[in-house]
Structure formats: C-alpha cells, structure tokens
C-alpha cells in the first residue's frame, strides 16, 4: 500500500476497532497455524465483528491467501479453499488473467490482462457447489483465473473471486510479492493497491 501511495495502518486481531481505515487487507500467513481448517478460527477474531458489517456496508476488503480463506470462512465470499491437488505446498510464479476489471481492487487492470504473480500455498484449490460456480461465472464474480496451467486443482482455474458488489475480493496468489522486479517476478501486483487507492480518492 505504501508503494501505491497510501498509508498502511496495522489492525490488531483482538481489537474491535478498524481505526477508521478506508480499506482493509487481510494478508496471508498461517492464522492459528492452520492446524484446523484454514481461517476457521481467525474468522472469530474480535476485529472481524467490525470488519464483516463494514464490508457488507461497502468497505473495500482484499483477502490474500490466508486472508482469502478467512473471508470465505466468514461468508463474505462464496466457496472454500481445499488442499492442493498433489497435496504439496506449491510456490510458483503463476500467470493470471484478470477476468473482472471493475472491482474495487482490479480497476487499474484491463479485462483480459495477463499478470505474473507468485502463488505460495498448500490449501489453495478453490471449490464451490456447481450452481455457485455457475452463478459466479454468470455474474462476473470470477475476478482472477490461472492462465497457464492449473497449479492446485482449483475449480474452473479460479484464483480469485469477489462478492456481488465487487468491494470484497479474495485471491490465493500474492500481489504484494509482485511490486518490483527486485524482490518479485514483476511489478504486476501493484495494480490491486493502485485500484483501491484510486477508488478511495475518487
């Protein structure tokens, strides 16, 4: 967010307080060690009692990796993330296609644009009921798709989805690891952060 020009503020899981932020990111990590279903405990964190209503009221929220899993567990996003096909953790630079460039977090991209961003997860296979998948496709809620191969067995190669309003987005790959060519494969991921900043400032 800092590289995109915004001021990052850390929120503590135990506080029922969003500190007046204009947008929230649930980053990756291993909340409670992922010893249970990923995100299943973190969704009950006190801060979530503030975040969920704020998200339903339109606050831009991005969940990355474990953050995506938490958003699914909190029912802010449809579907679930399951063990990778192959059952091993996968770190790989993946090519993604931006399917929906109208969400709060993808406006800086063009629909159909391809970007390269690292994926690194053990439970990244997106799954949902067949009719949910059909609804997501029909309503444009599939935001990001794996564009060269399916690295983890995700349904319909889905890498990221959004809610019906487009303010809540979750994805398994890590755009924050693609913000410059020095520490990542590209600067392609900056668009997520530039998108939300432009929206907040508009």
């Amino acid at each position: 967010m800092r590289l995109a020009g915004a001021e990052p503020v850390s929120l503590w899981h135990g506080d029922r307080d969003l500190s007046g932020v204009d947008a929230a990111i649930l980053p990756g990590g291993f909340s409670y060690g992922d010893y249970l279903r990923c995100g299943a405990i973190a969704r009950f964190s006190p801060v979530m009692s503030e975040l969920v209503p704020a998200a339903r009221a339109g606050l831009p929220v991005l969940g990355i990796c474990n953050g995506f899993q938490i958003l699914c567990e909190a029912h802010l996003l449809p579907g679930a993330l399951t063990r990778n096909a192959g059952l091993r953790f996968v770190t790989r630079d993946v090519r993604l296609r931006v399917e929906n460039a109208q969400t709060a977090w993808t406006r800086a991209y063009r629909a159909g644009q391809q970007i390269v961003v690292p994926l690194k997860s053990g439970e990244g296979a997106y799954a949902a009921a067949p009719d949910t998948l059909a609804d997501l496709e029909a309503s444009g809620q599939v935001v990001i798709r794996y564009a060269s191969g399916n690295p983890n067995g995700s349904a319909a190669s889905i890498a990221g989805v959004c809610n019906a309003e487009g303010n809540v987005v979750g994805l398994m790959p890590h755009p924050e690891h693609a913000v410059d060519g020095l520490t990542g494969p590209s600067a392609d991921g900056l668009g997520f952060f530039a998108s939300v900043l432009a929206g907040v400032l508009a």
């Binding site: 953790f89 770190t91 890590h174 020095l182 520490t183």
Partner: protein, 762 residues
C-alpha cells in the same frame, strides 16, 4: 507419585546403584560427578549431568580441535560476538548486525523425517532469536541415501514437508541450501538447518543469569515428555516413578510453528521494552541446559522450583522435566520489578509464562520439588563437561583411495560422447533441478528476498532505502572430504565463499556443521581433526572468521561411517542489492523463475580462473563410473580471494549481467545451468582438451556474462585483481552450443534436468 530422590536421600544411600551407563555416562564420568558432589548424584542430578555431558551438548570429543577456530582466527573488525554464544554476531554496517548459525537434526530426521526436520528449523530459529535478532531467512543443507533407494522415498518427502510445514508457517523465507544423494547417507540422512537474523548493534542479548534476586521465567510451550529418551531409563530404575507410569513414551519432538511464531514476536517486544537481563533458548537438554548455562555464565547461582514448570503431562517428575526437549520454549532472567510487565507482554501474545526461580550468589544451582531439594550442584561443573582427546589415526584405506586415480577411467572419445556425459550429469539426482523440493518452500515471505535457489547464494535485503543486504551460501562435498578431509573442507569453504561472491557480495564470516561418524573410531577422529584444521587454516587464509557452528557425530550404521561431511556456511554483505548478480543468461536476476528479459545484445562469456585436469571425487567420475578415488582438486585460497574481489568490484561497476560459480560437473554443468535459469542459450568454444575443459572441477573458477560495451572495463578490473580469464563465446539463441563438439537444444536440456526428481518422488 512417590517421593523423589532428594539430596538428603542421596547422602543417606551412598551405595544405591545408579543407571549411569544406560544414560550414556562412562564409569570415569560418573566417578567425577560423585567426587564433585561428595556423594552420589540424585536421579535429577544424574539426568542433568547425563544430558549436559552428552556429546551433543558438551562437545567433549571435539572441543580440543574446535579451539583452533579462535586461535587461528584472522583479524576481523566485523565480529561483535563469537564462538561460545548461541550464535556469532557480525557487523554488516549502517548500524546493522547479523547473526547466523547452522545446526544438525540428522538422527531425529531419520526416525521421523517430518517432525525431525521441522523441529530442526525451530531449534535454529530460537538460537538466533536468543541473540536478540529477528530471524529473517532459513536455508537447508540436505543429504540422503541413493535417490532410487526405497527408504529415500520415505525420508526425503518427509524431511521436505517438515521444513515446508515449519518454515512457511513461521513466515521465514527459505532462500537456498543443498540437496544431494549418496549411498553413504542411507540410514544417516543429513538435515542441517541454517537461520540468519538481523538486529541493530545495541539490541544484542546475552545468555547470562546475572543479578541476585532477578527472576527466572520459563515461557512458551508447556513441558511434556517429548524427546525424553533417557528418562524412561530413570523411570524404570529404582528412582520413584511407579512402574510404567512415565515409561515407554515416544521420544520424538513435535513441532508447533504457530507457537514459535508467537514466541518470536513476543521476545522481540520484550527486548524492545528492555525487560530482559539474560535469555537462553531451550533446545537439547531443555531446562537442564538453560538453567545450568545461564547460572554458569552469570552470577553463578540459581534457585529453581521444578514444580513451577508448566506441564502438559502431570506425571512428569524432576528428571524428566530436566531432560524434556519440548519445543518452542525460552528462559529469561528478569528484574523483579519488571516481572509484571514481562508477563503482560507474554499475555498479549498468548504465550504462557511462569516464574520458576531466581538468580543467587551462592555458586550453587539448587532445584526443589515441592519443597524438597533434588539438585544441588556447582553449575560450572555441568556446563563445562569433560574433555577428551580421543585416538585419531589416518585410515588404513586412505593410501589405496588416493592411488585409485580417475585418470585411468575411460573418457568420451568425441562430441557425441561428451554430449551424453553432460546430459547424464545434469539429469543425475545430485545435479538435477530441485524444484520438486524448493517449490514446497516459501521463498518470498517478508518481501525482501532478492535471490533464492537455484541461484548460487541466497540474497536478502535488509534496508529498503540504502539497498544493504546479506548473501548466504552453504556447501559441502563428502566425496572430496573422503579422499582428503583437510583439502575437502577447504574446498567446501572455497565453494561457499565463491557462491557468496558471485552474487556481488563481500564474504564476511563462516559457520559450520560438522557431520561425521563415531568419534570412538580413530579413523573418523582423524577425519574430524583434519577437517577442522583445514577449515581453520582456510578461514585464516581467506580472512573470514568462524563465528560458530555445530558438531554431529555418530552418523554411521554399524561400523560404516558416512563420508566426512563438513557443511560450511558463508555470510557476505552486499552494499546495494540492486547491483546483485544472478546465474541466468539473458534475464534480469530475481528470486523466482519468471523474470524480465535482459538486454537483447549478446553478452560475452568469460571463464575466470585456471583449469587443470582434476577429476578426483568429481561428479563426472561419480555419475559415469561410480568411482571415488585419487586426489580432490587443489584449493587455491589466494585465487579465491582475488576472484571474490573482482566479482564484488565488477558487480558494483555494473559491467556484468550474470555470474555463476563452477563446481560439481565443471564448466559444462555451469553453462547448462546458466542457460536453463535464463531460458537463453549460448555459443562457446572451449580451450584446450575438451574433456578437461568441460568436466574438470578445478577450484577458484566462475563464468561471467559481460555486458556489451563493458568488455574493456571488465578486462581492466580483471587485470587489477590479477584473475586469469578466457573469453569463451556469447549469450544467445535457444541451444547450448559447444562449437565443433556438440549442441543441445534448451528444450531437451530442460526436459532432462527437470524430470529426475518428479520421476523419483511423484
């Protein structure tokens, strides 16, 4: 629970037999304990001495040799803390200090590969944390039995998943290491974990229990029976435990990386608030080791209430509590009026903490169990331990090995034969693509990884504004060391030093993990003595001090030891990581596989260093002939130093677009790796005898790609650093072309390189 074996009872029952032999103590060692105490030890004291005087904790067979690292240490202004601390600390400039160390977890990883390897990562991370540093990266040097052996299919996937499970959850990038195979490691895999941490100079912490009245706090996980191998011996002997109550427990430690993550953040907040007088991590020998070492290094005395230790198994008694190797625990010494604040920080991070004792000036380590004294010893007697100079004698087979010269092996006669040999080498398990392993590790987390495997060295940015960074590499070569442990160890040091240098960093300091067979075998002891002497001499010649290390003995099955395998880690400093060099031709360097294309103009390829016909212990002899004999290549430490100076200067000047060290498999393998990494071919003409040019493993060499237009500037630098070089050809195309000899398309090269590990491990 029946009453414990108290000091009073020990004094009253001097003749009660003690299971010292079952706990690994010799009769002479037991006699020393009895003499020190003036009575027989209690069960708890016996437990404490047995773990403190184990080879693992006391270095009793290696100490007499390891002192050379200090005695021969080159003058270095970079060293802030050296050997004897949990890990050495190096000044890397701009107010930053770096601490790094490598440690073995070999035996647990054979018994239970996943948890053994996982807890190996956890243990070394706590070592770094105890110095006051934030851990920022890990690496793993792994060695397994024959790749095709069925047991390797059990051990390797378990070890890799354990490292992945623990390191990824902890949020530490895994930036490099090694993965090699040799039948000598069947039954004795080597799992060596390295961690590096960063702090400001004034944040250095000490492992000292100073200040009478200061409180001793145990925090982190609760204490359970994990890792208590010897305590079941105590339980089954006449020492109080009811039959079967505490016996027959699994002795494997189980890792909890989430608790470790909380412990890391908790400790860093405690340090920042100035709440810690002294701190020690709990590893092997758990509470016994932490209390003993803190007391011995501090004011000298400590009172400990063992019944105050939070337990996860209420049936544990004093000996088991002392020996437990439960993971994710730390011990701190805290001023009495800061205890409440300390416990408040622990509560914030959901870390359990308990005051279990206090520092005294009595010179005695006294432990009670529900009011009764069960330990009363001078702590230095346990901390210092015995010292042995075991018999060491050059093995009877060394002469025959040396005489078995690889010059007699049949060599490829033509281009087609050379081509087949290169493909065999890059597809062999030791040299094949390791993505199957490394894709299971998170190399990106923390966002500061600049280079990671399969680059020669890992490179991490420390300061975003200035570009200051650190480079790390580990290397070992059991085949070279088997032929000549002195030279082989210097070759491992040279390679790690060179691998740091090719990133453009300046090598600064050395850590080591010395993996050997039984010290009770004079031939092994000779290997060890030679290896240590080689490393100490090598470090002196290169001007890089040893800051710490670890010894792992007893890596053998029956009477057959592993190849002597010192694994050497070298740390370097990079003044500006934006000037880093990667191994790939034709692409910008980066941490991942996908990277921006480089300049389209063809860079010139230059081979640096001197090539001689050196095939003893080579990958070619190993892969093509299963041969191990002759002399290893001759190290040239002065040449290594000049080469490193040239590479640092060239990186800073921006005249190179790639640099790659030459090691296993020689020039041919290095060129193939640079082509594959950059997805760009090259056309080269090799000088002299093609076979020697392609596959010799002479030390002190590297290939570089010189940016178009910068040839003259590079030649001037090369002359100034007195490094010989020969221009081989240019980068470009989609094939690896050895003019007049053979051509391999990149697609074929990649297919052969990448298919080996997936075919073996799924």
């Amino acid at each position: 629970m029946s009453s414990p074996d108290t000091v009073a009872r020990a004094a009253d029952t001097p003749d009660q037999p003690q299971p010292f032999a079952e706990l690994g103590l010799t009769e002479a060692e037991y006699a020393t304990i009895t003499r020190t105490l003036g009575r027989r030890p209690t069960a708890a004291e016996l437990a404490l001495y047995s773990v403190m005087w184990s080879e693992h904790c006391s270095y009793k067979s290696s100490k007499v040799y390891l002192k050379q690292f200090a005695d021969k240490a080159p003058p270095s202004s970079a060293l802030l803390a050296g050997i004897g601390h949990n890990a050495g600390v190096v000044d890397v400039g701009q107010g930053y200090a770096v601490t790094f160390k490598i440690e073995s977890h070999n035996h647990p990883s054979y018994v239970e590969p996943h948890q053994g390897a996982a807890t190996g990562v956890g243990g070394i991370v706590r070592d770094i944390l105890a110095m006051g540093a934030r851990p920022v990266a890990v690496m793993d040097a792994l060695r397994f039995g024959s790749a095709a052996a069925s047991d390797t299919a059990r051990v390797l996937p378990g070890v890799v998943s354990g490292i992945s499970f623990y390191g990824n959850c902890l949020g530490l990038p895994n930036i490099g290491g090694e993965c090699d195979f040799d039948p000598c490691y069947a039954g004795n895999p080597l799992v060596n974990a390295l961690c590096v941490g960063v702090m400001r100079h004034d944040e250095l912490q000490v492992a000292e229990g100073r200040g009478p009245g200061n409180q001793v706090i145990l925090f982190g996980s609760t204490t359970g029976p994990d890792g208590v191998g010897g305590a079941s011996v105590l339980a089954s002997a006449a020492f109080g435990a009811v039959d079967g109550e505490s016996a027959k427990r699994p002795s494997v430690q189980v890792g909890d990386p989430f608790t470790e993550k909380l412990l890391v953040e908790c400790c860093l907040e405690l340090y920042a608030a100035g709440l810690v007088v002294g701190i020690q991590d709990l590893g092997a020998a758990g509470v016994a080791c932490a209390t003993t070492e803190l007391a011995a290094a501090g004011t000298g005395g400590m009172r400990v209430r063992l019944d105050a230790v939070p337990l996860r198994d209420a049936s544990l008694g004093p000996p088991e509590i002392l020996m437990s190797e439960s993971q994710e625990r730390m011990m701190a010494v805290v001023e009495p009026d800061r205890v409440a604040e300390f416990l408040g920080v622990c509560a914030k991070w959901d870390v359990r903490a308990a005051v279990i004792g206090e520092v005294t000036d009595t010179g005695r380590l006294v432990m009670t169990w529900h009011g009764e004294t069960v330990v009363d010893i001078p702590p230095s007697s346990a901390a210092e331990g015995p010292v042995y100079r075991r018999p060491a004698e050059r093995g009877a087979d060394q002469d025959a090995l040396a005489a078995d010269d690889p010059a007699a092996l049949p060599r490829p006669a033509d281009g087609a034969g050379l081509r087949a040999d290169l493909l065999a080498l890059i597809g062999s398990p030791g040299l094949a693509d390791k993505s199957w392993v490394t894709d299971q590790y998170d190399r990106y987390v923390r966002g500061d990884t600049v280079l990671a495997m399969p680059e020669d060295g890992g490179l991490v940015r420390l300061d975003e504004a200035t570009g200051l960074g650190i480079a790390l590499a580990t290397d070992g070569n059991g085949r070279y060391c088997r032929l000549d442990p002195y030279l082989g160890t210097q070759l491992a040091l040279s390679e790690a030093y060179r691998n740091v240098a090719v990133t453009g960093a300046r090598p600064l300091a050395v850590t080591n993990c010395l993996n050997f067979g039984s010290p009770e075998d004079p031939a092994v002891m000779w290997q060890f003595a030679e290896a240590v002497r080689g490393l100490a001499d090598g470090c002196a010649a290169l001007g890089v001090p040893v800051t710490g290390g670890n010894v792992s003995f007893y890596n053998q099955t029956g009477t057959t030891p592993i190849h002597p395998t010192p694994v050497i880690g070298v740390l370097g400093v990079h003044d500006d990581v934006r000037q880093r060099l990667g191994i790939g031709f034709g692409r910008e360097p980066g941490p991942g596989a996908a990277r921006a294309p480089g300049s389209t103009a063809a860079a010139g390829i230059v081979l640096l260093g001197r090539t001689r016909a050196e095939f003893g212990g080579s990958a070619w002899a190993h892969v093509r002939h299963g041969h191990l004999g002759g002399r290893p290549p001759e190290p040239d430490l002065d040449a290594e130093r000049r080469l490193a100076g040239l590479l640092a200067a060239a990186a800073e000047a921006g005249v190179l677009s790639a640099a790659h060290d030459l090691s296993d498999g020689g020039l041919a393998v290095a060129l193939a790796e640079s082509c594959l990494r950059g997805q760009t071919g090259c056309v080269v003409t090799v000088p002299g005898d093609p076979f020697t040019s392609l596959f010799s493993e002479s030390a002190g060499r590297a290939i570089v790609a010189v940016r178009p237009g910068a040839e003259a500037a590079f030649d001037r630098l090369r002359a100034a650093h007195d490094v010989p070089g020969v221009r081989l050809g240019t980068v470009g195309g989609d094939s690896l072309v050895f003019a007049g000899l053979f051509t391999i398309g990149l697609d074929e090269l990649a297919a052969v390189h990448t298919r080996t590990l997936p075919a073996l491990f799924g």
